[in-house]
């Protein structure tokens, strides 16, 4: 068999299954989703059409607009909080821990919770923060409260805390990876040149770690933006996020066109954020590459 024929046959064999799969189960579904977003709800289900009504509804109805804005806000605070906690942890691991065994152990310690069910980790906060929960009874037995307070649960703060809790490992990993790559002699050289440790951090370490921060921030933002579990468990009535609204369109409301339109909107927002962060990452790398 000739070289080119052998190569071509091998390529076809290797490429076909993945290409086929991706086409059928990824490209086509998104295409149909896009098409559905233009259809219209007609009792009891929905019918084909081509109208922008769903999108107009999303843009003008304050109910939907508010939810989207609220979700964006929550996603932002979750990412910010997770970053503020994850960065010092990663920094400590890379720069302050000398023994590789200890460093590995601490790294595993922060990543291990990822292996425990996400649902359960979110659920535990429900048990901790509830009126019959542990926090309340602890505060009561300590004398701080005289009766259980309902302020801890079923609000946006509870959601933010829960999501931060879930996403800290997601933040630590990319930041750790990027901090680890910084050559030690850079910080040494900086110190050698008489620059104080704080300024070395702000002028050398921090800028070099931006790609990791951006990667972690983006992933945390996008994933919390699309979450519907935390709102369901600890969010309460005004903790509804976009994903819950979408889910209900495919559930009880049976308004698939509207749900599809909302999903497309969510898709667009997430894709925009990913694109922006890609630019950001390349910016950070370009400057110091």
């Amino acid at each position: 068999m000739s070289t080119s024929r052998l190569v071509r046959l091998t390529r076809a064999a290797v490429l076909s299954p993945p290409l086929l799969w991706t086409f059928v189960f990824m490209f086509v579904p998104y295409a149909i989703l896009f098409v559905y977003s233009f259809w219209v709800q007609k009792y009891p289900t929905f019918v084909p059409d081509f109208q922008f009504g769903n999108y107009i509804q999303i843009a003008t109805d304050p109910q939907y607009l508010n939810v989207i804005l609220r979700t964006l806000k929550i996603a932002f605070f979750v990412s910010l909080g997770a970053a503020l906690i994850a960065y010092p942890y990663a920094y400590f691991l890379v720069f302050k821990v000398k023994r590789p065994g200890v460093r590995m152990a601490l790294y595993m310690a922060v990543v291990a919770p990822l292996w425990v069910s996400y649902l359960l980790r979110a659920y535990t906060w429900k048990t901790i923060l509830g009126t019959t929960g542990i926090l309340n009874s602890f505060l009561m037995s300590a004398g701080v409260l005289s009766e259980p307070s309902s302020v801890f649960l079923y609000n946006q703060t509870a959601m933010i805390v829960t999501l931060i809790y879930v996403f800290i490992p997601f933040m630590v990993m990319p930041i750790y990876a990027v901090l680890e790559k910084i050559p030690h002699n850079l910080t040494e050289a900086s110190g050698d040149l008489g620059v104080g440790r704080f300024r070395t951090f702000f002028k050398v370490t921090l800028p070099l770690s931006i790609p990791g921060i951006v990667a972690g921030f983006t992933m945390t933002f996008c994933l919390s933006f699309g979450d519907f579990i935390a709102p369901f468990l600890v969010g309460g009535p005004d903790g509804l996020m976009v994903a819950n609204v979408i889910a209900s369109q495919f559930g009880a409301s049976l308004n698939w066109p509207l749900g599809s339109a909302l999903a497309i909107v969510m898709l667009m927002i997430v894709l925009t954020i990913i694109t922006i962060s890609d630019r950001f990452e390349r910016l950070g790398q370009g400057k110091f590459a």
Binding site: I32, L33, L120, Y165, F250, M266
Partner: protein
């Protein structure tokens, strides 16, 4: 003024304070991370149904209830079935995909890559909904099999990124040498390429299994009559807090610890020289 300019005595004190504050901080973070898990495990043995502090006593009652809960056990086996099938499927599709991305140039490669990697950053709900729409549109009923397909699709990204990264470190000259010595393309794949990406494939497989076992957003929209374990737990949660959930949770934690050990062991073998 930098710290280095202070007298040595002050420097040592400051260094110790700094060290201490770091340790406290790390301790707090780890505490924050593990407190809920500790609570979960502790209260799975709590004698009363309530979650008040302090605990009322120890009991295995909730675990016993679990053992006789046939729905739970069925959901557990369903999850295993789904996870094993989805992992196998995603490896069979994902490894060639990674090889294609590494070695073959073809039209539409960029789009292919973006599509595969999309589910990583995309909220699972979008993957779930889009596949639900697909199945409904072609008239497929929802079942464990649709869940398997959904998982396999969402997990492709995991396999592709891991295997692709490893492939980059395998020089192309190895496959050329293999063909030069008389091996066919298929033989080269099994005798040369695969052994050199073995750890990545195993790692990706284990990760895919774990993620599939715990998967919720995609499963939520693709489940038919049979529940996976997370779906069963979800439905239990809707009915209110019960200590059985703590018990299931603790068992899952225990299983996760076992999985971590197994994966570390499996991946460690690579370091020992082969006979």
């Amino acid at each position: 003024m930098t710290r280095a300019t202070l007298p040595p005595q002050r420097q040592r004190v400051l260094a110790r304070i700094e060290r201490l504050s770091w340790l406290v901080g790390i301790g707090l973070i780890l505490g924050f991370l593990y407190l809920p898990i500790a609570v979960l495990v502790a209260y799975s043995f709590n004698a009363s149904r309530s979650l008040t502090w302090p605990m009322s006593g120890l009991t295995l009652e909730w675990y016993q209830k679990l053992a006789s809960n046939s729905q739970l056990i069925e959901a557990f086996y369903n999850s295993i079935y789904v996870a094993v099938s989805a992992t196998a499927l995603t490896l069979i599709i994902g490894v060639p995909a990674a090889i294609a991305l590494d070695r073959i140039d073809f039209p539409g490669k960029g789009l292919f890559r973006k599509l595969i990697l999309l589910p990583i950053a995309l909220p699972g709900i979008i993957t779930g909904i889009s596949m639900l729409i697909l199945f409904r549109a072609i008239g497929f009923n929802l079942s464990l099999e649709t869940v398997i397909i959904g998982h396999a699709t969402a997990l492709l990204a995991v396999v592709v990124t891991q295997v692709y990264a490893r492939l980059q470190r395998v020089p192309a000259s190895l496959s050329e040498a293999s063909v030069d010595l008389g091996a066919s393309g298929l033989q080269t794949f099994f005798l040369v390429t695969l052994p050199n990406i073995r750890t990545a494939v195993i790692g990706a497989g284990m990760l895919a299994f774990t993620l599939s076992f715990d998967e919720i957003p995609v499963t939520f929209f693709l489940t038919g009559r049979d529940n996976t374990l997370p779906m069963y737990i979800w439905s239990t949660m809707r009915r209110g807090l019960t200590p059985e959930i703590n018990a299931i949770g603790t068992l899952i934690v225990a299983m996760s610890i076992v999985m971590i050990f197994v994966s570390v062991l499996l991946l460690r073998d690579k370091k020992n020289p082969r006979k």
